[in-house]
C-alpha cells in the first residue's frame, strides 16, 4: 500500500484524519458504555401508608394489575386526567395513562378540607358520574398529566389490548381475540349535518343559553330564541341545514364528554328572525358541536353580526333539550 506522504504534509489534512479517528472511537466508546452500564428501569412503586400497620395499601401500578385487583376503569382518556378507575368503598380514584401506567390518585373527602383541597359538586367523566355527591378533592399526579392521553404510537400496539377494555377481570387469561373488522369509514360531514338537522326537527322543545360573556347581541339572540321557543327548532334546523361547505372541525369536551365539531358558512339571512338588524347577504362562520348520536350541543358564531360588532366577535350558545 502506497501512502501519499505529500498529502500528510498538509496540517489540515492531518488534523482532519486525527479528528475522524477520534470521533469514530468516541462513538464506539459511548455506545459501548450505554450497553455495558444500562440499568434496568426502576419498577414503579406507589403505596399508601407503608408502615408496620395493617393499613398498608400498595396501589396497582398498571392497568393490568388494577383489573386483577378489582378496579373498574374507563375506556375514554380524559385530557389532563387520564382514564379514571374506581373500586367500591375506596375513598380515592386512580387514573392511568393510555399506555396503562398509574398517573395519579384522586383523593376524596366528604368533610371540608383546607387548600390545596378543593370543593367539587360531583365528578363526571365520559358521561359517567364517578362521585355523585359534594366532596373535597385533591389529586396527586405521579407524572405530567398533559401526557396522560398520549397515543400508543410509541408502543408496539400489535396485539395490545387495554385491560380496561379487554375484560380480563377474574379470568386470569386473555380474552378471545376479537375477529378483525374493517374500520368504519368516516361519514361525510354533510351526512352528519343532515342527521343533526333531523334530530333538531324531531325535538319538541329546545333551550338556548349563552355561555359567553353577556353582550347585547347574544342577549338578543337568546331572548328572541326564547320568545320563539315554539319555532326555535325550525330556526336552528334551517341554520344547520343552510351550512355551506360543511367540514369536520376540532372536537371539544362539554361536561367531560367529547363532542364532534363541524364548521362551515351560513348566509346571514338565516339569522334574520333572531337578529332582525343583521346585514343581509353576509357570510357567517358557524361551528357546531354534536354528540355521538348527532344531537346539537353547542353553536358558535364567529365574526360580526352587526356594524357595531368587533371583527373578532365570537358568540357561543349551548343547546339543550328540555325533554
Amino acid at each position: 500500500m502506497n501512502i501519499n506522504v505529500d498529502k500528510l504534509k498538509n496540517t489540515k489534512v492531518i488534523i482532519g484524519i486525527i479528528a475522524i479517528i477520534l470521533v469514530i472511537g468516541f462513538v464506539i466508546g459511548l455506545y459501548t458504555s450505554k450497553g455495558l452500564f444500562k440499568s434496568d428501569p426502576e419498577i414503579p412503586y406507589f403505596a399508601l401508608n407503608t408502615d408496620d400497620s395493617n393499613n398498608t395499601v400498595q396501589l396497582p401500578a398498571t392497568t393490568e394489575l388494577a383489573v386483577l385487583e378489582g378496579w373498574a376503569g374507563q375506556r375514554l382518556c380524559i385530557p389532563g386526567r387520564g382514564k379514571f378507575a374506581t373500586k367500591e368503598n375506596e375513598p380515592y380514584i386512580l387514573s392511568y395513562t393510555t399506555t396503562g401506567e398509574l398517573t395519579s390518585i384522586y383523593l376524596i373527602s366528604t368533610d371540608e378540607m383546607p387548600l390545596p383541597w378543593r370543593q367539587g359538586d360531583n365528578l363526571i367523566a365520559s358521561g359517567t358520574e364517578l362521585v355523585d355527591y359534594q366532596h373535597w378533592n385533591l389529586i396527586i399526579h405521579f407524572d405530567n398529566p398533559l401526557s396522560s392521553c398520549k397515543t400508543l404510537q410509541s408502543k408496539n400496539t400489535s396485539g395490545y389490548c387495554d385491560p380496561f377494555d379487554c375484560n380480563l377481570k377474574g379470568s386470569g387469561e386473555r380474552a378471545t381475540p376479537t375477529p378483525y373488522m374493517s374500520p368504519t369509514p368516516t361519514p361525510q360531514a354533510s351526512f352528519i349535518i343532515q342527521k343533526v338537522t333531523d334530530n333538531i326537527s324531531a325535538s319538541k322543545s329546545i333551550i338556548v343559553s349563552s355561555d359567553s360573556e353577556p353582550d347585547e347581541i347574544s342577549k338578543i339572540i337568546v331572548d328572541n330564541a326564547q320568545a320563539k321557543s315554539k319555532t326555535i327548532s325550525n330556526i336552528l334546523s334551517n341554520l344547520i341545514s343552510g351550512l355551506e361547505n360543511p367540514d369536520y372541525g376540532s372536537n371539544t369536551w362539554i361536561n367531560n364528554v367529547s363532542h364532534k365539531g363541524f364548521k362551515g358558512n351560513v348566509k346571514s339571512d338565516l339569522f334574520q328572525s333572531l337578529v332582525p338588524d343583521i346585514p343581509t347577504g353576509a357570510n357567517i362562520n358557524l361551528t357546531i358541536w354534536v354528540t355521538d348520536d348527532s344531537k346539537l350541543k353547542r353553536l358558535q358564531i364567529e365574526g360580526p353580526l352587526s356594524d357595531t360588532d368587533a371583527k373578532d366577535s365570537i358568540r357561543t350558545f349551548e343547546i339543550s333539550d328540555s325533554e
Binding site: 504534509k9 477520534l22 472511537g25 452500564f37 408502615d51 378540607m113 363526571i124 399526579h141 398529566p145 361536561n255
Partner: protein, 166 residues
C-alpha cells in the same frame, strides 16, 4: 517524522492509538452521563377534566374557565430547600426525611438520594381507612405535629430503602 508513517506498522499503531483514546473518552462520557437521576414530575391538583381553551395553551378545569390549579412539588431536596421547605427530621426508617413548609396541610418526605418519595397528608377531621389516626407526629425528640390528626402517606417510591446510602 512523516517518513515513518510510510511504515505500515507505525501507521497502524498511530491509528489504533487514536481510536483507543477516542473509545476511552466515549466510555468516560457515557458512564458519567448515565449517573444522574431523572427528575420526576409530581404535582398537586384538583377537579375533573381539563380542557384546552380556544386560543393558546391555557388550561383549566372544564367549564370553569379558570387557570390550572396544578402545583408542582419539589422533586429534589435542593428544589425543596430553595422553595422554603425546612427539614423536620433526620432519615426515619420506612419514611425518609420529613420536610414542612408553613401551615400547609401536608409534609414531604425525601430519601437519602434527596429524591421526593412521599407526601404526608394531614386531616384534622376523621377520615376512613386507609387514613390513620395519630395523636401526634414526632421524630426523635422533635414533635412535628403536636395535635391529633388523621394521616395518609402517599408513597411515590418504596420507603423501605429511604435511608440507605448507595
Amino acid at each position: 517524522m512523516l517518513a515513518k508513517l510510510k511504515n505500515m506498522q507505525i501507521l497502524s499503531a498511530v491509528i489504533v492509538g487514536l481510536l483507543l483514546i477516542g473509545i476511552a473518552i466515549g466510555l468516560l462520557v457515557g458512564i458519567f452521563s448515565t449517573g444522574g437521576t431523572e427528575e420526576r414530575y409530581i404535582a398537586l391538583d384538583s377537579g375533573g377534566a381539563i380542557i384546552a381553551e380556544g386560543q393558546g395553551n391555557v388550561w383549566g378545569p372544564a367549564g370553569t374557565g379558570r387557570l390550572t390549579l396544578e402545583e408542582q412539588l419539589p422533586s429534589t431536596l435542593l428544589e425543596a430547600t430553595t422553595n422554603g421547605w425546612s427539614e423536620q427530621s433526620a432519615c426515619i426508617q420506612n419514611t425518609g426525611k420529613i420536610f414542612a413548609k408553613g401551615n400547609l396541610p401536608y409534609l414531604l418526605t425525601y430519601n437519602t438520594q434527596n429524591e421526593l418519595i412521599g407526601v404526608y397528608l394531614i386531616s384534622e377531621t376523621e377520615k376512613p381507612l386507609p387514613w390513620e389516626k395519630l395523636e401526634s407526629l414526632s421524630a426523635g425528640s422533635k414533635t412535628i405535629i403536636d395535635y391529633q390528626h388523621w394521616s395518609l402517606i402517599v408513597h411515590l417510591k418504596n420507603p423501605a430503602n429511604a435511608c440507605e446510602t448507595i
